[in-house]
Subunit: 150 residues, 2 copies
DNA sequence: AAATCTACTTGCAAAAAACAAGTAAATTTC
DNA sequence: GAAATTTACTTGTTTTTTGCAAGTAGATTT
């Protein structure tokens, strides 16, 4: 598991605690998929293109659930499906993801179109507000398309 | 290693590319230590309290250096010391770290005093500007104290 | 009732991290 | 100026985590 810690009691600086929770290759990608691509089901996460293994995905979803970042609810129209949804705590990770997106687009070779990125950087507050609005009304339309080759 | 990739050619969305680089338990902590605690040397990183192993620290520093996030320069007054310093690309990770700090302080049990955090959240732009200023003039004074039990 | 689909779990090999010890180069101390 | 110390590592070894393939349980469609 994660780290020896006396039942529920956490300590350390806020950054360290955050990184213990989602400081890995996958957690934030899953959260991004829910936040800006409208992904909801296990299968959609798998097909998201980054190539996460099923056991890792299951593990991460469990961890995020336990941390109160996502919740699960059975799909009303198809009982086989389990829908994952961000909590309030989860949607508040949006600024981190947005900053990461902007940093990556600026400093690394990615498939992201410059014009779109420049626009997002300029209207940071609007993007965050719109992201939250879509989450509130359960708007499944992705706010961002897939970039690059994946 | 990181991931199979044809020499230098990177692909994928900006978030994914960013996470490939610093999506782990340690990289961002090292960067934070440089950014807000004024750490410069190998020894200082080790003593930073999170308990990173020497081989991991060495590996991460090498990776960050290769990515152009930090540079090394020998200490002028003590030739044994090697000073690590953030590059422009590195200091621009400040928004991510700040958002992570604020999120962690708000949602997880940490030792961070509420008053200080509320102040930082309100004056986000000022904090970022001040962080950059200190980097520019090489002000070694930490902008933040250590929180919690570490 | 059979076939299919979704969301997993299990087992195993490979990679990475944690831990302990050792080393080289520069520097301070005697 | 030789010995001891400090800094920044490297090199094993053990433990943990990840990646991959296969299999399974429950709901649904045919």
């Amino acid at each position: 598991m994660l780290k020896k810690s006396v039942a529920g009691r956490r300590s350390g600086c806020p950054v360290s605690v955050s990184l213990e929770l989602f400081g890995d290759r996958w957690s934030l990608l899953i959260i991004r998929d829910m936040m800006v691509r409208g992904n909801k089901t296990f299968k959609e996460f798998l097909a998201s293109g980054e190539g996460i293994a099923t056991n890792i995905l299951a593990g991460r979803l469990r961890r995020l659930e336990k941390a109160g970042i996502v919740i699960t609810e059975p799909d009303v129209s198809d009982g086989r499906k389990l829908n994952y949804r961000l909590t309030e705590k989860g949607i508040e990770l949006a600024p981190i993801l947005l900053d990461m997106l902007l940093w990556g687009a600026k400093h690394e070779e990615t498939g992201a179109p410059c014009a779109v990125m420049a626009e997002m950087a300029k209207s940071r507050e609007w993007v965050l507000k719109e992201t939250r609005r879509r989450w509130e009304v359960r708007d499944p339309a992705p706010i961002l398309p897939k970039f690059g080759s994946n």
